[in-house]
């Protein structure tokens, strides 16, 4: 954590120094906003490492339109209130392109400010449909939507012929959104949803919830949320002898869930973006990450890389640094990125994005389920 702080200070310091020099040095500032601290900082690390790598590589290849990309990094702790502060700081810093934020609940309020101030935002991780539903011009993403991921999860559950399914969520935009999508698809498929209940993020005692699940006699439990809570639920369910299979979205697919849940994490089902790092054409990039001692396998590393790349190519394509022109270019063009071919629709969502169901193991590895 200490190194990341140093990096911010240097990054911010460098930008201020350059600003003082009358912006003589040609540069394009790219804001990166996500959690560096807090309960989901692991996902933030993926985002920052992917975006930094892209900036590094683009600069090494001569930058964008002959100008260098400079990262301006801010920590929003995945807290909606801090996200607003961060967004305002981005405006103050004169940033015109932002990669972020990570949590949907942060991305949404921040995007209001970006749209208003004419800043282009590409979120590499927020999957809530609402973010692109508001007709904003400058909001894009390099990840799928809950409304795509939910059905994938629900169809998989339905194919397992469950008797009763319980759906639990953490009431946050991401968790509840995806849980609702799962419930709707399951109901349409004629599966009985025995329970649909919210928990409070940050809670630690789930013994009553687990007892309730046991009473409801469910054989599958879908959890919409992040890994700290699901880890505890898995462990406490195991202790209480609840015999059910759990499933969650990509927010739970993290090795930290193993350190909390231990053996209880075995057999957990997770929907994740396909492992981009396994793709043939990305092997050079994977090598570059490994040379830096970083792990490219996290679900948001390459989506963040792609987001920076899209900004760069959008600027080149538009031949202008004006975010509105870049947005137009992004909507018009087709781009080849490590996450595949990207084409945008009017809302700023990718035309297609695939999710795959994995089975999680107690040693932190995962295998695809067919």
């Amino acid at each position: 954590m200490k190194t990341s702080i140093k990096k911010i200070v240097t990054a911010v310091g460098a930008t201020t120094a350059l600003m003082a020099a009358g912006q003589a040095a040609a540069e394009i500032r790219i804001g990166i906003a996500g959690p560096m601290t807090g309960p989901v900082a692991q996902y933030g690390d993926m985002q920052f490492s992917g975006a930094r790598m892209a900036i590094e590589q683009i600069n090494a290849n001569g930058g964008v339109m002959g100008e260098e990309l400079v990262a301006v990094e801010y920590d929003d702790v995945c807290d909606p209130k801090q996200a607003v502060t961060v967004a305002n700081s981005m405006v103050n810093e004169g940033v015109r392109f932002v990669i972020g934020h990570l949590c949907s609940s942060s991305t949404q309020p921040a995007s209001d400010i970006y749209e208003d101030e004419g800043i282009l935002m590409i979120t590499p991780a927020s999957t809530s449909p609402e973010i692109t539903e508001r007709g904003y011009e400058l909001v894009f993403r390099t990840i799928g939507l809950d409304s795509m991921q939910g059905p994938v999860a629900a169809n998989h559950l339905a194919s397992l012929n469950p008797e009763r399914v319980a759906i639990i969520h953490d009431k946050q935009q991401y968790g509840e959104g995806i849980a609702t999508a799962v419930r709707d698809t399951l109901t349409d498929a004629g599966v009985e949803v025995a329970m649909f209940e919210g928990i409070t993020a940050g809670d630690k005692d789930f013994s009553s919830l687990v007892t309730k699940l046991k009473q409801a006699d469910v054989d599958y439990v879908y959890y919409g949320g992040y890994h700290p809570e699901l880890g505890l639920i898995l462990r406490q369910a195991d202790q209480a002898g609840l015999d059910a299979t759990f499933m969650g979205p990509e927010g739970v697919g993290n090795k930290d869930i193993n350190s909390i849940a231990g053996d209880a994490a075995e057999g957990l089902l997770v929907t994740l973006p396909p492992s981009f790092d396994q793709k043939e054409e990305n092997q050079d990039l994977v090598q570059a990450f490994e040379d830096k001692g970083e792990d490219p396998s996290g679900p948001f590393v390459l989506t963040s890389y792609a987001a920076v790349q899209l900004v760069a190519e959008g600027i080149e394509e538009a031949g202008s640094k004006d975010p509105f022109d870049v947005a137009e270019a992004l909507r018009a063009g087709t781009f080849q990125t490590p996450i595949g071919t990207v084409e945008y629709n009017q809302a700023g969502d990718m035309e297609s994005f695939e999710f795959v169901v994995y089975e999680w193991h107690s040693d932190g590895s995962k295998t695809p389920v067919n």
């Binding site: 692991q42 209940e197 919210g198 046991k214 009473q215 202790q239 209480a240 002898g241 909390i260």
Partner: protein, 307 residues
């Protein structure tokens, strides 16, 4: 039959949580009983106890020690030592210099201390949730094989047993030992106790140390029971324990026990029969109602208004 088993299960869940609340509540109730201040930093001391226990357990495991009772006992002792020292230091640094001032002053000082300690651990250990290894696994099951079974885990039994032992020892200590008698004297009349030759400063320090040691016990037990700890979890637990202390009648040790159990059961019943989202609303509403109709709590002594 099934409904009854379900009820019993929720009751067991509630009593487990409740008894750990009671352990933390002792610290609040003893301090309030003696110097009449709310020690807001107590929840943080409990959190530090949990961290110390986890550090000790991880360290011992890394050294290759696998005999469970040894690990638990060493972790417990380390946690108690660190927490007690913290309790002692907090009292010396933040509370003793402001004792006897306007009652808001110690309160603000305590809140400041709470923020300080939270961030101290946050900076040293990071802010993410850290998994606490499940050392005690397994348990008993009751009821029919093919439907709902009530289960009570060894961990839950251990929590009951340890709480019971701690409470008994504490009661004996307060009623029999010299320091215990002095504690009671000081809580009745600080000035008079001073005149009678009791070193009141030492007794107040002892109160903080005892409260902190019990909080450390709760930290170890709850860390293992829940499965993860983070620097913020002390604050919420502290608030709950404090509620328990007030519920039972602040200043009364059996009251803290009773308040903790009632609060734990109320929470688990709310989660079990309504929704987990509202368990905190129910516990705080319970607190407000009790204070409105019986302002001194369930077992507290009525205060006489002196003119």
């Amino acid at each position: 039959m099934q409904d009854l088993l379900y009820f019993i299960q929720q009751l067991i869940n509630g009593l487990t949580i409740g008894s750990t609340y009671a352990l933390i509540a002792i610290g609040y109730t003893m301090v309030y009983g003696i110097i009449g201040m709310i020690n807001f930093a107590h929840g943080e001391i409990y959190m530090i106890g949990a961290y110390t226990a986890l550090i000790t357990i991880t360290g011992l495991t890394a050294l290759g020690i696998v005999w469970l009772p040894l690990i638990l006992i060493v972790a417990l002792i380390c946690a108690m030592i660190v927490s007690s020292s913290m309790g002692w230091a907090v009292e010396r640094v933040a509370y003793r210099p402001v004792r006897g001032k306007h009652r808001l002053i110690p309160l603000i000082s305590a809140i400041g201390m709470s923020i300080f300690l939270q961030n101290y651990v946050h900076l040293a250990q990071g802010s993410s949730n850290i998994g606490f290894p499940a050392l005690v696994e397994g348990g008993f099951r009751f009821g029919p094989e093919d439907s709902f079974q009530t289960s009570i885990s060894y961990m839950q039994i251990m929590i009951f047993a340890v709480t019971l032992v701690c409470m008994t020892v504490l009661s004996l200590f307060i009623s029999r030992s010299r320091i215990g008698r002095a504690c009671r004297a000081v809580s009745q009349d600080l000035g008079m106790a001073n005149l009678l030759g009791i070193d009141t400063n030492r007794i107040i320090s002892a109160t903080f140390v005892i409260g902190a040691a019990l909080a450390a016990v709760a930290g170890l037990l709850l860390g293992m029971y829940y499965g993860s700890i983070d620097p913020l979890f002390g604050f919420i637990a502290g608030l709950k324990a404090f509620t328990a202390a007030v519920l039972g009648g602040i200043g009364s040790i059996p009251g803290a026990m009773l308040g903790g159990l009632i609060l734990g059961v109320a929470e688990s019943m709310t989660s079990g029969y309504l929704s987990g989202e509202y368990k905190d609303v129910v516990s705080f509403s319970l607190l407000i109602l009790i204070l409105l109709f019986k302002p001194t709590g369930l077992l507290g002594k009525p205060e006489v208004e002196k003119i």
